[in-house]
């Protein structure tokens, strides 16, 4: 029953659908990167390195929703290990799959940049799930990365390597620190608090 219980828990969190969506995201990233001819001109990979982690983070964020928040609240088992496992597992899978789309050129927009953006976007999304609920958790990361994508072209200051982390080359330490910080804070927040309840809670 214990292993069966873990399987039921994975199904209760929609894991099969999430895995399928992450595989689809990877396929889309590989297809998009090939069309951009990014191997000859690595800078042209930026849209893929920015967009694919966002899509993966959105898939992960939506999967953090629980359909039975009230019943979850009466569980004897502590939730934080399960939340952490779900978030870390799906993030690790994304970080392993998405770099396949941008192999080579690790110094600019290759696998390191893809992994960093996956961690950063997932961290922001996990924090948003705690504050806004899982359903809208993708929105802040989407807004932030879009704003940075559109607005960071002319920014070259030292601070820009931190706040514009999604658009930095893969070797930039400041961008890595920002993304890792976002993942650590977002992951810890989600593990401890869980996604914000969204279901109806009667007031009768």
């Amino acid at each position: 029953m214990t292993s069966n219980g873990h399987l039921l828990h994975a199904r209760s969190r929609g894991l099969p659908a999430s895995l399928a969506a992450l595989a689809g995201t990877t396929g889309f990233a590989v297809w998009a990167a090939a069309r951009l001819d990014g191997f000859l001109d690595p800078d042209r990979r930026v849209p893929v390195v920015a967009l694919a982690p966002l899509l993966a983070a959105a898939v992960i964020g939506v999967s953090l929703r629980s359909p039975s928040e009230e019943l979850d609240g009466t569980a004897v088992r502590p939730w934080w290990p399960r939340r952490l496992t779900q978030l870390a597992g799906l993030t690790a899978l994304s970080a392993a799959l998405l770099p396949l789309a941008v192999l080579g050129h690790p110094e600019v927009f290759g696998p390191p940049a893809m992994i960093r953006n996956t961690l950063g976007c997932t961290g922001v999304t996990a924090a948003a799930a705690v504050l806004l609920g899982a359903r809208l958790s993708w929105l802040p990361a989407f807004g932030y990365v879009s704003a940075v994508y559109l607005g960071s072209a002319g920014a070259h200051s030292g601070a820009a390597t931190v706040w514009a982390w999604p658009m930095q080359p893969g070797t930039q330490p400041g961008a890595w620190a920002a993304a890792l910080g976002a993942f650590t804070v977002g992951g810890a927040l989600y593990a401890v608090r869980g996604a914000r309840p969204e279901g109806p809670r009667g007031g009768g």
Partner: protein, 249 residues
Amino acid sequence: MTGLRVRHRGTVALDSVDLTLGTGVHGLLGPNGAGKTSLIRVLATVARPSAGRVELLGRDTAGRRALGEVRARLGYLPQEFGYYPGFTVREFVAYVAWLKELPAAGTPAAVERAVARVGLADRADAKVRTLSGGMVRRLGVAQAIVNEPDLLLLDEPTAGLDPEQRVEFRELLRELGASTTVVVSTHLVEDVAAACTEVTLLDAGRVAYRGTPGALAALGETSGGPGDHPVERGYTAALRAHRATEAPR
């Protein structure tokens, strides 16, 4: 519980509530917004009071360790329990048993027993999404009793049940109440009259009346409150009497 105060969405849902509940079936009655669901949620340990002390099954629920022990011994059917459509009846009840940390060896038998008690044995392998509203409600009761709880909390358990199912459910309530503390929130006075050993009437977050269904019915007969059922007349009479005493405050 003593001096219980609960806030919900910026308003006071329960205020200065003192209650002691023993073995038996306790009916919670009251108008919409009276605080019935808030009280059940506090008893289920999913909501925390802003003031007051709650002791369940002999343990103060303020402590984290006590919370786990209490949760293992309680069953809870929320108003909206949010099932997993892709699960079968058996899988859903087994999943809740797992969350309750029931011993793995005894879980399959406990699941079969709970499913049979609510009359869903013939649908045990049916997907939850194929069940009718009444069946989903019975599934909710099955998950609440899978651990054979010492404290069973049911929020509107008969909503969506047809008359025959309600009669059967009352029988189950009486059976459970013989050895368990059962708290049932409901709007249906017939359920209270038929199955409850005690009634607590809430109004605007306060206890307006406590007594047996028989005493509530007698109150209705003597006070002449409106209603089609003796308990219904008692309900309106008790509410009016409470509001008359609260008004000057």
